[in-house]
């Protein structure tokens, strides 16, 4: 494969590394955390810049409001907690104080999706992309590995406007280039293919590459596209690829309602209708288990992508 795994590492550590770097380069970056500093990998920032780190306690609603207020006077707040508590729990605070008010707040959400693992469904949000992309003006980013998460963290500091940055807990392959330039809203084509387009986001991008390898063995070439920015979505990249391949599989660690799949489906429905299959959770809550077990049980892996790709190709 063209892409090699330089070693498994969690995407949240990519966020932490990015934040550490921003601490040095961006004096207006401040960080807030709701009693999960270690889990969010914000400890370095906290230690290096105690005056710019705000421990808010287990009070996420207040954290979102504080972050909105801190922008008044020029700070760039990075507010971190688990994805469940960073979205559903504080939806109205984000809606009114951040999105509607147009505040330059970066909502940094770790432990997203089912790969949070053993903690179970109370903590495994599979609806957050939908919640956030519905908010007018909100940018939604779900990077695929450590390097890309770090690059995304750096990029959003220089972008003016509210951002939802989603990342995770498990150690996953790190395969995108170190020190890459992250362009918000720009899809990345990872492989060339003719028979099917696989559009993946987050942890499913590596699985999509594995799936493309499997399909290759079966004589089917797949075009893998890494969509790290779900909103605004790169319509041109999607349309161009599907025009070439004629069908698409979307893959995400999220409910099929409201996620990447729906954004792709809308793009195609408006511009170039084509058969689409969805690798996503099927309107269900998660449960306890290891990340690998859960990905298998809920059909969020390379094997599932291969099956759906074959189905999509048959539907052409």
């Amino acid at each position: 494969m063209k892409y090699t795994n330089s070693g498994n590492i969690d995407t949240r550590s990519g966020f932490g590394a990015g934040l550490t770097q921003l601490g040095k380069t961006h004096k207006d970056v401040v960080a807030l955390c709701a009693d999960l500093t270690g889990s969010l990998k914000m400890t370095d920032f906290k230690n290096n810049h105690p005056e710019r780190f705000f421990q808010v306690g287990i009070a996420e609603a207040n954290m979102i409001g504080l972050a909105a207020g801190m922008t008044i006077g020029g700070k760039i707040p990075f507010a971190g907690t688990f994805a469940n508590f960073a979205t559903g729990r504080v939806y109205d605070q984000i809606r009114q104080s951040v999105a509607y008010s147009g505040k330059n707040v970066k909502i940094c959400a770790s432990h997203a999706g089912i790969t949070l693992g053993e903690d179970g469904a109370t903590h495994q949000i599979l609806e957050d992309i939908g919640l956030m992309k519905m908010l007018p003006g909100m940018t939604v980013i779900n990077p695929c590995d450590y390097n890309q998460t770090k690059a995304a963290t750096l990029a959003i500091a220089d972008y003016q406007g509210p951002v939802y940055l989603r990342f995770g807990r498990p150690k996953v392959p790190n395969f995108t280039p170190e020190n890459q330039v992250f362009e918000i809203g720009k899809a990345l084509q990872l492989t060339q293919g003719k028979e099917v387009t696989i559009i993946a986001t987050g942890h499913l991008v590596w699985e999509a590459l594995l799936a493309a390898e499997e399909l290759e063995k079966k004589g089917l070439s797949a075009e893998v596209i890494n969509i790290h920015t779900i909103k605004p979505i790169d319509k041109e990249a999607i349309i161009a690829s599907v025009k070439k391949t004629g069908c698409v599989v979307t893959a995400e660690e999220h409910n099929y309602l409201g996620g990447l799949g729906e954004s792709v489906a809308r793009t195609l429905a408006e511009n170039y209708p084509a058969p689409q299959e969805f690798v996503a959770t099927q309107d269900t809550f998660g449960e306890s288990g290891t990340p690998a077990e859960l990905m298998e049980k809920y059909g969020l892996n390379a094997r599932s992508i291969v099956t759906k790709a074959e189905k999509a190709i048959k539907r052409k």
Partner: protein, 283 residues
């Protein structure tokens, strides 16, 4: 201090604006607006140091955040008459394509507004964030807020109240419009607030009270006293006793005018009790 009569005349005109704005679109919230008229006039005509050349960042000036956004009529009137935007624009309140939305917002770019409010309980958190940024920026100016008493039923307030004291945010003055009324009736009937002074004190806030929040001298004195207590390690709370509907006899002593506009006859009666001082905006 501008002459007291000038401030009183200002307040009377603001009351007319509140009544005329709500009557014109047959909606909006006159009750709490009338009750907080003296507070807004005192704040913008006497207490705060601000620039009418509005900048969102608000550096080197005092800031005000309205948490109970439904009393937008009094906010808009005082902002307009303090020079933030043309008084004539009050005629567009709650109308299509207006910057004067039903509840205040930054979204349409109205000068003087720094955050949207309306969904209750969010203003204190935002104000505390702004207060902390002021400290980071070495800006000595203060942050003022206003909250409904009923609004304190929202849990986010208590997260913020806990946070403010725990972090010694002493450049904020949070005023509670203590009229003891909300939409469904008295706060005692809907959800008793108990002893608010003791609650704030138990959360390590500095608390002072304004006995008559519809007496402009008392409001000014109370705000000045609050200002004098800033910078001493504790956030400041003012329990400001007001009367919902103050200034219009038939709107006082009831919660009925929380969110109800006067009809033609009622408007005439209410305006007669508040004769024109600074000039009505044209409709």
């Amino acid at each position: 201090m501008p002459e007291l009569t000038k401030l009183k005349d200002f307040a009377t005109q603001v009351r007319r604006d509140i009544l005329r704005q709500t009557h014109h679109v047959n909606s909006g919230h006159p009750g709490g607006s009338l009750g907080c008229t003296e507070f807004f006039v005192a704040l913008y005509q006497e207490i705060m140091d601000y620039h009418t050349d509005f900048s969102m960042d608000g550096k080197n000036e005092d800031l005000f955040f309205l948490s109970n956004g439904h009393i937008s009529p009094v906010f808009y009137s005082v902002l307009a008459r303090s020079g933030f935007f043309p008084v004539e624009e009050l005629a567009t309140f709650r109308k299509i394509n207006s910057r004067l939305q039903g509840h205040p917002t930054t979204h349409e770019g109205l000068p003087g507004i720094r955050v949207a409010s309306g969904s209750l309980g969010q203003g204190l958190s935002v104000a505390l964030g702004a207060a902390q940024t002021k400290k980071l920026n070495g800006d000595q100016h203060l942050v003022y807020t206003l909250h409904g008493d009923g609004e304190l039923e929202e849990g986010q307030n208590w997260e913020a109240i806990l946070y403010a004291a725990g972090n010694n945010i002493d450049n904020i003055i949070a005023t509670i419009d203590y009229n003891k009324k909300q939409i469904d009736g008295s706060t005692d009937d809907v959800l008793p607030l108990g002893n608010l002074r003791k609650k704030f004190e138990a959360f390590d806030w500095e608390v002072l009270e304004i006995e008559d929040g519809n007496n402009i001298e008392q409001v000014i004195d109370g705000l000045k006293e609050a200002k004098a207590r800033t910078g001493k390690g504790k956030p400041i709370c003012i329990l400001m006793h007001t009367e919902m509907g103050n200034g219009v006899d038939f709107m006082m002593g009831t919660h009925e005018w929380h969110g109800k506009a006067p009809n033609d006859e009622q408007l005439e009666k209410a305006l007669a009790q508040n004769p024109e001082t600074l000039g009505d905006y044209p409709l």
